[in-house]
Every structure is written in C-alpha cells, then in structure tokens.
C-alpha cells in the first residue's frame, strides 16, 4: 500500500499567511476608486484565495490531474450558466411596438 504524502507544516503555515494577507488586500481594493472594475479586481483576489485553498488545503498540488479536472469541472460548468444567461440579460433592448 502506498503511504500517503505528508505535507510539511511550514507549507500549510505559508499558505495560511498568504491567505490572511489577501483578505485585507481585497478589502483595500474595494476602497480604491476603480469604478466598474472594482468587482472584477475583488473577485480576482477571491479567485486567488480559492486557488490557494484548493491547492494547499485541499491538496490539489499533489493530486492526480484527473482529480484536478474533477475539481475544476464544477466551476467550468458554472461558467456556462453565467455566460449564456448573461448573454440574454446584457443584450436586452427595448423594441418599440409598431403602433
């Protein structure tokens, strides 16, 4: 039986520290006058945090590529829902009736 890989404590602590730094970074970005890009910036930091959690706390760093595909699948499929739904909501125009 193959023995399970043991991640060193410092890896976990480093990831934890990085995450705790990203939280105030995200909050700080929200206060900057970025206009419409605030949401994009803030969610981008969120995505970075999510990747850190998934890579280190959920062990994707040392998992098979099949596992990584499984992990990504839900988010990828969610992108289908978002993109095509928004293709409706963001392109609605008022068509004046002919009368």
């Amino acid at each position: 039986m193959q023995s399970r890989p043991i991640t060193p404590v410092r890896t976990y602590l480093a990831a934890w520290a990085a995450l705790l730094l990203l939280v105030p970074a995200m909050i700080g970005l929200a206060y900057l006058p970025l206009g419409g890009f605030t949401a994009l910036a803030v969610y981008a930091v969120g995505a970075m945090e999510a990747v850190l959690v998934m890579r280190y706390f959920m062990h994707l760093k040392r998992s098979s590529s099949l596992t990584v595909v499984f992990a990504a699948a839900g988010f990828f499929w969610l992108a289908f829902l978002f993109t095509l739904s928004l293709s409706d909501f963001m392109t609605r125009t008022r068509i004046a009736p002919p009368w």
């Binding site: 039986m1 193959q2 023995s3 399970r4 043991i6 991640t7 404590v9 976990y12 602590l13 990831a15 934890w16 995450l19 705790l20 939280v23 105030p24 995200m26 909050i27 929200a30 206060y31 605030t38 949401a39 803030v42 969610y43 930091v45 969120g46 945090e49 999510a50 959690v53 998934m54 280190y56 706390f57 959920m58 062990h59 998992s63 099949l66 596992t67 499984f70 992990a71 699948a73 839900g74 988010f75 499929w77 969610l78 829902l81 978002f82 739904s85 928004l86 909501f89 963001m90």
Partner: protein, 215 residues
C-alpha cells in the same frame, strides 16, 4: 474496538486500499462539483440582479458589517488550515495533536456561526429583514430588499453547510479518539477536510459579494 490496522481489509468491491482511497477522493470531489453548481445558481441570481439594479445594490451593500464579515473570513481560513494540520496529524499517527486540531477547527466553525448570528441580530435591529421587518430609508428600497433577501438565503445556506461540517468534524474527532482512523485508514478525515475547505471557498466568494459591493 477494531483498530485502524484491523480495518485495512477493504470492502469486497475494491481490489485494494489504494483503489478504495482513490474512489473515495474522486467521489468527494464529484460531490463538491455538485455543490459548486448548487451555490452557483444563487450567485447567478445575484449577478443578474446586481446588473439590473447597480445603484440599489450599492446602497444596500453599505449596510453589511464589514468588520464582522472580515473576521468571519479570517476565522474560516484559519479553520481550513487547522483542518489540514489535523489530517497531517492523523497521517503521521499523532492522534493527540490531530484530536486537538480537530477540536480547534470545530470551535472555529462554531465561532463563525456565532459571529454570523451576531450580524443577523444587528441587521434585525436595523430593520433589514425582508418581509418580516424591512424599512430602508434610502432610494430603491424595493431592490435593496432583494439584496437582503439574497444575503439571507445565500449566507443561510452557507451557515447550514458550516453546521453540518462542524457535526462531521466532531464525528471525526470521535473516530480519532477510538482509533478507528489512523495512518492506515485516513479517508474519512481527508474527505471531511475537503468538504470543510470547500465551505471556506464558498465563503471566500460570498464575502466580496455582500460586504464589498460599494465601499
């Protein structure tokens, strides 16, 4: 009580423990994929609503408690770290350390729920509970009520998942205590860790959604 060593006899459908472990991991990731889509619907509903009512959501977003929300984020991130360390403890046979770390993780989960409960209590005091007690004295009250409805539903589903997680982590504590899991058989703890970190990931996206709308 059967020890972890005695449990290496795997169930009949599996060829060996490695196959069982691989199957368990893939099974949990598949389940987490379903959870992404489950919560994703709510995020989609939020996105559509925010695109339609940007000013209302900006006004309403100013009424969530950024300090408490930030604390909740830090608490869950820390609990994710302690959960990973607990799994490591199980794997190296340090069952006392594992038990302690599982306990800390569960406590942090409870702390999250308490802080959130405090938030809900404050919002109730500020009359920001849709349908029950909602009065919003800025413009776009109707759409602001929608913001808060989404807030309660989305954080509510999340809190439910946190509570389930705390229960499962406690159960893992019991398994470690009775030596039903150990270096030879750690799948239940690993799967619990995956679930718990996933709950953290959901919050990572919930936090900007409701606390960083327009600051």
């Amino acid at each position: 009580m059967p020890t972890a060593e005695a449990r290496t006899g795997v169930a009949l459908q599996f060829d060996d423990a490695d196959q069982r472990h691989e199957a368990a991991k893939l099974g949990m990731w598949t389940f987490l994929a379903t959870e992404v889509l489950f919560f994703g619907v709510l995020f989609a509903a939020y996105t559509v609503s925010r695109i339609r009512y940007p000013e209302a959501f900006a006004l309403a977003g100013g009424h969530t408690d950024l300090l408490l929300g930030g604390c909740e984020t830090a608490v869950l991130i820390t609990s994710s770290a302690t959960m990973s360390l607990a799994l490591r403890g199980v794997r190296i046979g340090a069952s006392r350390a594992a038990l302690a770390l599982l306990g800390v993780t569960a406590l942090l989960g409870v702390a999250f729920v308490c802080i959130h409960g405090l938030e809900y209590y404050h919002e109730y005091g500020e009359h920001l509970v849709p349908q029950l007690d909602f009065s919003f004295d800025e413009p776009h009250a109707r759409e602001a009520e929608l913001f808060f409805w989404l807030y309660y539903v989305m954080t509510g589903f999340h809190v439910l998942h946190v509570l389930i997680g705390v229960a499962v982590i406690s159960a893992m504590g019991a398994l470690v205590w009775r030596r039903r899991v150990g270096p030879d058989y750690d799948a239940p703890v690993e799967l619990t860790g995956l679930y718990w970190s996933f709950v953290d990931v959901v919050w990572i996206f919930l936090f900007p959604t409701f606390y960083l709308v327009a600051r």
